[in-house]
């Protein structure tokens, strides 16, 4: 093995990669821009939509209430709604979003109030439609306030205190610091995105340096040089690893910067500011570094595995067909980390899933050093096995000259 020759191959592959538009886009631009676009872009879009929906004066209808003049009078006085005359096709109008909600006052409602029997008011809406849900919530809130006043009047009439109905209150209070709350919500997504970007950033270079070389006819050229095949493989491997790590580093850095910016710059209106506050995620330098170190052996595993698979292909297109199923093998465990699963000793041995779960913990500033050791060690073993396979594949004539 010659470090000099490995270096010669690496520098040449790096030069070519930097001149290749597809590599630059997949390994540099996408990871740099993805998180800012997702946080700023999606965040801004979400807050704009929420703001617009909240500002709307929803059109509603009232059904019934002819024998309940008191409640009807109150419903007609609801704030921030536009009441239209009721029509028979009210249901279709709700579904077609011509009106946002319908309030139904059943027959005998006022009578049941007088007799202090439990009555009901229904609010019909379009579940899943933001404007309809906001309208329904607005109506419900005002009707519940009215109900509260009626309860107070009834209690006063009977000389009963308010506490008769509510002897005690039950409240929930979060004691976890904000970074753990945000991390628990977003840690799984961050792990998934970093791992997926690490994979996608190295996919194209891995295919280009193996199957692509065969397709371009330069494989025989390089094999006619005195370089040992193991040196050739390692030179290429280090380039693929470089792109994987660059993608991981850029995505982790851009993620950290995006969330920091989100927490400090509220360019939206109040609704947007509230949304940004909920999304606030504290990712410090030490978390960014920890995630990056965790991704290192994963990147080695990806680089080696992608090369071992891609070298088998006769052409770039065939390599894509082999690597696409590999993406699912990576995506499925990465996605599973978004479920409410906690890391344990068994899961620490499952590749990809272990790294995703660890990332979730790192984002919440939780360090289980025993699991970290298992994950790092096991991933290194898997990575070494994949690299060994890649070297072996490069030494097989039936693979190199497969036609």
């Amino acid at each position: 093995m010659s470090l000099r020759n490995i270096g010669v191959v690496y520098r040449k592959e790096l030069k070519e990669a930097l001149r290749d538009r597809r590599t630059v886009i997949s390994s540099l631009l996408v990871p740099l821009l993805l998180f800012p676009l997702l946080t700023a872009g999606l965040g801004a879009a979400m807050s704009a939509l929420m703001g617009k929906a909240n500002e709307e004066i929803p059109k509603i209808m009232i059904l019934g209430g002819e024998d309940s003049p008191q409640i009807l009078k109150h419903v007609r006085k609801l704030n921030q709604v536009d009441i239209l005359p009721a029509t028979g096709d009210w249901k279709d109008k709700v579904i077609n979003k011509e009106i946002r909600a319908v309030v139904e006052i059943p027959a005998g409602f006022q009578d049941s109030l007088v007799r202090q029997q439990i009555g009901w008011l229904k609010i019909y809406n379009y579940d899943g439609n933001l404007e309809s849900s906001i309208a329904a919530d607005r109506i419900q809130k005002q009707l519940e306030e009215y109900r509260g006043r009626l309860v107070k009047e009834n209690l006063a009439a009977k000389n009963l205190p308010e506490a008769a109905l509510k002897p005690f209150e039950v409240k929930q209070q979060n004691v976890a610091p904000p970074e753990k709350v945000g991390g628990a919500a977003f840690g799984g997504v961050i792990g998934y995105m970093v791992i997926l970007l690490c994979l996608t950033g190295s996919m194209y270079p891995a295919m280009d340096l193996t199957a692509g070389e065969k397709e371009r006819g330069t494989m025989e050229t390089i094999l006619s040089s005195p370089i040992l095949r193991v040196d050739l493989v390692l030179g290429k491997f280090f380039l693929v690893l470089t792109t994987a790590l660059t993608t991981a580093a850029l995505s982790v850095t851009s993620m950290g910067v995006s969330f920091w910016a989100l927490g400090h710059f509220h360019a939206f209106d109040k609704a947007g500011a509230d949304a940004a506050q909920q999304m606030q995620l504290h990712i410090g330098i030490h978390t960014v570094l920890s995630i990056f170190i965790m991704v290192l052996p994963v990147a080695v595993l990806f680089a080696a595995a992608l090369m071992a698979v891609a070298i088998f292909a006769k052409s770039y297109k065939e390599a894509q067909s082999y690597i696409t199923p590999l993406m699912f093998i990576v995506i499925i465990p990465a996605v599973c980390a978004m479920l409410p699963i906690d890391l344990d000793a068994k899961l620490a041995l499952v590749p990809i899933l272990n790294a995703s779960l660890l990332c979730k913990e790192l984002v919440t500033d939780t360090y289980h050093w025993n699991y970290i050791a298992i994950i790092f060690g096991s991933t290194c073993v898997y990575a070494a096995a994949a690299l060994f396979l890649a070297v072996k594949m490069f030494q097989r004539e039936d693979v190199l000259f497969r036609s």
Binding site: V8, V9, K12, G217, T218, T221
Partner: protein, 251 residues
């Protein structure tokens, strides 16, 4: 010098089973000599040359190139060989100079020697006008010159050419032929494969006729003419391969 000793290569094919591409080929090619390996498509020329260049490993037999065994010291063999074929393409995103530099470094040249040899070769081959142009922007003739420069950068003692003029226009082909001749005149050992009779007649000091992986006849053009009582090389070729060709057709 190239000394082939019973070189054989058997491939395993899933559908066709074992295929004997090269069967017990032995010959010697001396310095200052051009050995022409003449055969039809599928005769075993490329496989033979790839084994000599250590791109493929022989299944049986061996060869000694510049004193090094192709099985025991393949990297040393490659350090003394310049290999050029239609399958040895250029890296499209490297410039002509970078392409040759890369192979110079892989052949262990230090930077000052590399710089000096690069300038000599680029001047000799009249390549200075396009040395900074990317290989994917070169014309066919420029690409061929860059490939030639690549094979020459480490001044190898042995030159192996596998159908070097295949698909080239007449002017580019003439450049290659001229280059092969120059290699011989500089005392290099040259072996090249072709199925073009005129190239063999123009260049070769020794001709080896190969068919079905076997070396069926060998000698200078004069010797072959005398042995087979034919003047035309094409007739000699047909006479030599016909019996084997017929038996292969029958199978």
């Amino acid at each position: 010098m190239i000394e082939s000793r019973g070189l054989s290569k058997v491939f395993k094919d899933k559908k066709r089973g074992l295929i004997s591409a090269v069967d017990n080929i032995s010959f010697v090619c001396k310095p200052g000599e051009i050995y022409g390996l003449l055969g039809a498509n599928g005769a075993g020329k490329t496989t033979t040359l790839r084994m000599l260049a250590t791109i493929l490993e022989p299944t049986d037999g061996t060869a000694v190139v510049c004193g090094y065994d192709v099985i025991e010291a393949p990297d040393k063999v490659r350090a003394h060989v310049g290999f050029l074929s239609t399958a040895t393409a250029l890296y499209p995103r490297l410039t002509s100079q970078e392409m040759v530099e890369y192979f110079g470094r892989l052949n262990g040249l230090d930077e000052s020697t590399l710089r000096k040899r690069l300038d000599e070769i680029f001047t000799r081959l009249d390549m200075n006008d396009f040395r900074d142009r990317r290989c994917d922007k070169l014309s066919t003739g420029m690409k061929q010159k860059t490939s030639i420069a690549r094979t020459l950068i480490h001044d190898p003692q042995v030159m192996i050419f596998d159908e070097p003029t295949l698909g080239l226009d007449i002017m580019t082909a003439r450049t290659i032929i001229q280059f092969i001749r120059e290699c011989r005149d500089r005392g290099k050992t040259v072996i090249f494969s072709t199925h073009v009779m005129s190239e063999v007649e123009k260049l070769c000091d020794v001709i080896g006729i190969i068919q079905g992986g076997k070396l069926l006849a060998e000698g200078s053009l004069a010797e072959l003419r005398e042995k087979y009582h034919e003047q035309d090389l094409e007739e000699i070729f047909v006479t030599v391969v016909a019996p084997l060709y017929a038996s292969q057709e029958a199978v």
